[in-house]
Symmetry: C2
C-alpha cells in the first residue's frame, strides 16, 4: 500500500498530461467531503460538505474543508459536481460560494433542489446544471458521465471523469440494494462498461468497508414498521433523517395500511418532503397528510408523527418531546416512538438520553438495536468487492472514511487484485498525481479543520479548543492583583474567584496568605514587571490547588496597574 | 406497572414484619449499583459500586451512590454483600468504609480478593466473610443463600434473602451461557427451587432486556481468536477488561496454540491475573508468560501482548501505543490489534479514535464490529424470560439499567405472567416496601450523584458542572474594572481578556469604548456598588458578543476596589 507520510512537502508542478487529485476533506473522518481534480490548469470539485463536530471540538457548530489551497484559483474552477444532497456533501457550498458566487453547481434534480433551498436561505441564487444518470457533460477539460447509485437519499449519482490522463470513477456514497423502493439500482452494468474501457483510478465509499456482508434491502423495513404500527394503541412518533425519502415513504405506507393520518414535524422534514413530492420521489395518498394542529386534536390511535431528531439533538422536535418541551406533543404512556435511523458514532450519549427520557415518560421506544427499523446507506465489504471486481481499477483511492475504514477498503482492493503499490491511502490535503496510469502521493497542501462557531468562520483554532477542554474539565481560578504603576507595589489584597471549581465560599481562604507572601517575596526581589508577577500568581495558585485538590483548573492571573 | 413519581415524599415508618428495599444506585444509569434492605431495624447492603462519568459530567473522576440516607445508621448495617468484583459493584466500598471501616464484606473468594487489593491501596484491612454457591449465612435478621451465576468475571453470585417478610432474590449481574469455560453455569435449578418455595420479590439484571435472543457462548470466541492469530505475521496485541479472566484464558490458549509467549500489560491486568491464577481460576502453562522487557526483545511473530485500554482510555497501555507514547511498544505495519471487549456506550468516540490511530500507524485492528471477538456478560430478553418463568416472582423490580432497560425488563415480566401492578419500576432513592407479599413504592429519599474529583468527594455540584459545560462550549471573557474605594470612580481602562474565545489580539478593541461609556453612564447615575457595576459589565460585554459573534461565552466581570 502506498501510504502518505506527514513529512510531505508542497507538491511539484503537475506534469503535462497528468491529472491531479486533492482530497480537501472526507479522509480521516466521515464528513466535509470535497475532492479537487486538476487537469491542464483547470479545476473540477466533487462535493463540498460539512463535518459535524464531536466532543473534541466543543462549542463548534460545523467544520468546513480548508479552501485555502484553491482560494486564489477559484477562477479556474469549472464546476462543483454534487453527488447527492446529504449535508456532508453539500453543506459547505454556501461557504465556498461566499468567495465566488458564480461557480456552477452540477447535480441531479433532487440534489440541486436541496442545495438551492439551502442557498435561498442566504439569498444566494446559484448557477446550476441539472444532470441525470446516463448523461455526459463536458466541464472544461473534464468529460463527466453520470451513473445512478442507490443510497439513503434519492437521486444520488456516481461520476466518471475522463481526461487525456485517464478515466477516473468517483462513486460518491452508494450501496447496492438490488430491490430498492424506487427501482433505481446502482448501475453495476454501467460500471462494468467502464471496467472494460479501463478505470485508471477508482475513488470509492469506504464507510462500511469494515462491515462484512451485504446490506438488508430498505423494503424489508416496511413489514417491521407495519408490525410495530399494528401493535400500537396510542400515538406513533417516527424519527428519521429529514432527507431519507424512502424511509418516510415506508412510514407513510404503514400509516395508510393502518388508517392513520401523518403529520410532518421539523422544518427540514417539511421542506424536504415537499420537494420530494413535487419531484415525484414521494407518493403521498390524498388525505394522508394533516397539519400538526389537526394532528394534535385527533384521537391517539389515528395519527403518526414523522419527525426529525433521530440523532438526539436536544433542540429538535423529538428532543423537545423527550423533555416535555414540545409545543404540541406531550409524551404519555401508550405512545410508541420509533427511531428509524442510524446512530451516528459520537451521538450515542445524546440518543440514549432521549430514549431514556421518552421511556421514563411512558413511551414504548423501538430503535435499531431492538428491531430492524434501519439499514445503512453504505456498501459493506461484500458489495465493495462486487464493485472492485467489475471495475478492475488500476489504482484505488479509498475515500469517505476514518482511517479504519480506508485501511479496510485498501485491504479489499488488494484482495480483489489491485496491486498493493497502486492502493493510495491518503489523508486530507495529500496531493495525488495520476501520471501515465500510475497514481502516487506527491505532496501535501494545508488542510486544517475550519471551524464555524456562531457568525465566525475560521477564527477558532486548535489551541482555543484546548483551552475550552481544560476549562470544561476543571473550570478556572482567577486571581486578580492590583499594582501601583509608579511604585510597582501590590495594592490591597489579591482577589480570587472561580467558576466550575468549588462552591465553597471559603475554599480560597488558605491560598490568600500564600499568594500575599509570594507577592511580598517578589517585591523584595524587586520584581515589578506585570508579566513576571502573573507567573508568580499562576505558580503559587497552581501548586496550592494541586496539593490541596489534585485538580488542574485553568489558573488565570490578572495583574492590573493603577 | 407501578411507576414511581417525582412528587414522592419521605417514606412512612416501616410497618412491623415488612421488608424495605432502597436502591441508592443502579437505576437510571448503569453503574454505582447499591441496594439497601431493611428489616426490623437492621440493614443489609447488596453491592456498593461506582458509576463512570460521561460527557455530561466533565472533569469528574467517579460518581458514587449518595450514602446520606444511611449515614446515621451505619451501626445497623449487618454486612455488605458483594455479588461480583466489577467496579460498578465494588468501586464505592472504600468510600463507604471511610465512614465506618468495620462493616463486614461478604462475597466469593475472587470478589473479596479484588476488593481487598483495592482496599490495601488505601491501607484498609476489612472484615470479610467468604461465601460460595450453595452456602447459607445468617446476617442479622437476613438469611442469605448464595447461588452461582455466570457473568463476564469469575465467581459471581446471586443472593436470596429470607426474612419473615418473604423471600427476595437479587440476581446480581448474570447471563446463562450453557457451556461456560469454567463449567460454572447459572444455577437455574436452584432458582427453580426458590420458585417452588415462592419468590416474593425478584430484583434482576436489566442491562440487555432490550436485546432479543440469547448470548453467544464465551467459548465461541476461541476459534475466532485462533483464526486471527493464525493469520497474524507480526506482533499481536489484545485488549480486554482487566477482570475478564475467561477472555484472557482464551487469548492465552490461542497464544499457546500458535507457540507465542504472552506478556501482560497494565497494572490492573497484572494484578488481577495474578489473583486469578493463585485462586485456580486461570490456567497458565509453564513458560507461557514473559516479562514486558523480554517480550519487547522477542521476534514479532512469537509474542502476544495482553493489555488494558479496551475502552479507549488515553492513559492506558493501548491508548499510549496508539499515540506512539508507550515505553516498550511502537506500533508498526504488520502488527495486529484485537479489541476483545465491549464498547461501553459513551466511549465510542475514544475507542474509534484509538482504532484509527492504530490503523494509521499500520496495524490491522480487529474489533467487535468486524469479528465475533466479544460477547456480552448480561442476559438478553430470551434468557431473562427463562429466569422469570422458573422463579415466577410475585413482584418484579428491574434493576441494573437505564430507563429503557428497566422498562423493557418490566415488559418481559408482564409477558411471563407477573401482574402489571406488581412490577415496580423505580429510580434511585425510591423506597419500596414489601408488605404482606405486595411490593409498592412508598416514598423517596435523597439520592444525588456524588462526584469524586481529585481528592474531593461531593464538593462538585450540578451547578458547577453547568459552569464547566458553559466554559467548555464557549470559553469565557473576563473584564476587570478597578474602582476607587473612596470615590467609587473607575480607575484606568477596563482590562479585557479571554480564554477559549478568540486568538485575535484586537478582538476586544470594539468593546472597550462600549464598556467605558457604560461605566461612565453608571457613574453619572451614581452607581458605585461593585455588585451593580459587575452587572453593568456583564450586560455590556454579553450584548456585544452576542451581536458581533452570536456566541455565549461565560462573562466574568471583576470589580476591584483599591
Amino acid at each position: 500500500m502506498s501510504q502518505a507520510h506527514m513529512e510531505l512537502g508542497p507538491p511539484p508542478p503537475l506534469p503535462e498530461g497528468a491529472l491531479r487529485v486533492i482530497p480537501l476533506g472526507g479522509l480521516g473522518a466521515i464528513g466535509r467531503n470535497m475532492t479537487v481534480f486538476e487537469y491542464d490548469g483547470k479545476l473540477l470539485i466533487v462535493d463540498c460538505g460539512v463535518l459535524f463536530p464531536d466532543v473534541e471540538q466543543p462549542g463548534v457548530d460545523l467544520i468546513l474543508p480548508d479552501f485555502a489551497p484553491i482560494l486564489d484559483r477559484l477562477g479556474d474552477v469549472q464546476a462543483i459536481v454534487l453527488t447527492h444532497g446529504h449535508e456532508d456533501h453539500i453543506g459547505a457550498v454556501p461557504y465556498l460560494l461566499a468567495h465566488k458566487p458564480d461557480i456552477p453547481l452540477v447535480g441531479s434534480e433532487f440534489t440541486l433542489a436541496l442545495v438551492e433551498a439551502k442557498l435561498a436561505e442566504r439569498r444566494l441564487d446559484p448557477y446550476t446544471l441539472t444532470v441525470r444518470e446516463g448523461g455526459i457533460e463536458r466541464l472544461g477539460p473534464f468529460e463527466c458521465e453520470f451513473f445512478a447509485v442507490n443510497h439513503s437519499i434519492p437521486d444520488a449519482l456516481a461520476v466518471a471523469i475522463r481526461t487525456p490522463a485517464g478515466l477516473v470513477l468517483h462513486t460518491g456514497d452508494f450501496k447496492m440494494d438490488q430491490v430498492p423502493l424506487d427501482g433505481r439500482i446502482t448501475d453495476l452494468a454501467g460500471f462494468a462498461r467502464l471496467g472494460a474501457e479501463g478505470v485508471d483510478l477508482l475513488l470509492s465509499d469506504s464507510t462500511n468497508a469494515e462491515v462484512p456482508g451485504f446490506v438488508t434491502p430498505e423494503r424489508d423495513i416496511g413489514p417491521v414498521l407495519s408490525s410495530i404500527f399494528g401493535k400500537a394503541s396510542g400515538r406513533i412518533i417516527v424519527a428519521s433523517f429529514a432527507s431519507h425519502v424512502h424511509r418516510v415513504q415506508q412510514v407513510m405506507d404503514s400509516a395508510w395500511e393502518f388508517e392513520r393520518k401523518v403529520a410532518l414535524i421539523g422544518r427540514s422534514m417539511v421542506r424536504n418532503m415537499g420537494i420530494a413530492r413535487d419531484l415525484g420521489l414521494l407518493r403521498i395518498p390524498d388525505g394522508l397528510l394533516v397539519s400538526l394542529d389537526e394532528a394534535a386534536r385527533m384521537p391517539h390511535d389515528e395519527i403518526v408523527f414523522m419527525s426529525t431528531g433521530s440523532q438526539g439533538e436536544p433542540m429538535s422536535a423529538l428532543g423537545r418531546m423527550s423533555t416535555g418541551d414540545h409545543r404540541h406533543i406531550t409524551i404519555t404512556p401508550g405512545d410508541t416512538v420509533v427511531l428509524a435511523s442510524s446512530l451516528v458514532p459520537g451521538n450515542e450519549t445524546s440518543v440514549y438520553r432521549v430514549i431514556n427520557q421518552l421511556s421514563r415518560a411512558g413511551a414504548t421506544v423501538v430503535h435499531k438495536e431492538t428491531a430492524k427499523v434501519h439499514v445503512s446507506g453504505h456498501a459493506p465489504a461484500g458489495e465493495l468487492r462486487y464493485l472492485l471486481n467489475v471495475t478492475r481499477p488500476s489504482n484505488l483511492m479509498p475515500v469517505h472514511g476514518e482511517w479504519r475504514h480506508l485501511r479496510a477498503h485498501a485491504q479489499l482492493g488488494i484482495e480483489t487484485g489491485v496491486a498493493p503499490d497502486r492502493v493510495v491511502l491518503c489523508e486530507d490535503g495529500n496531493v495525488v498525481d495520476l501520471v501515465e496510469g500510475h497514481a502516487r502521493v506527491v505532496g501535501h497542501v494545508k488542510s486544517r479543520y475550519v471551524y464555524v462557531d456562531g457568525l465566525a468562520v475560521g477564527d477558532v483554532s486548535e489551541s482555543l479548543l484546548t483551552e475550552r477542554r481544560i476549562l470544561g474539565d476543571g473550570g478556572f481560578i482567577s486571581a486578580t492583583v492590583v499594582i501601583d504603576s509608579v511604585t510597582g507595589k501590590v495594592v490591597g489584597e489579591p482577589n480570587i474567584s472561580a467558576k466550575g471549581f468549588s462552591e465553597d465560599p471559603d475554599a480560597f481562604n488558605p491560598v490568600i496568605p500564600l499568594l500575599t507572601a509570594a507577592l511580598h517575596r517578589s517585591a523584595e526581589d524587586g520584581i515589578t514587571d506585570p508579566h513576571q508577577l502573573q507567573q508568580v500568581v499562576r505558580r503559587t495558585v497552581g501548586r496550592w490547588v494541586n496539593d490541596a485538590y489534585r485538580r488542574r483548573p485553568m489558573i488565570v492571573p490578572t495583574v492590573v496597574e493603577v
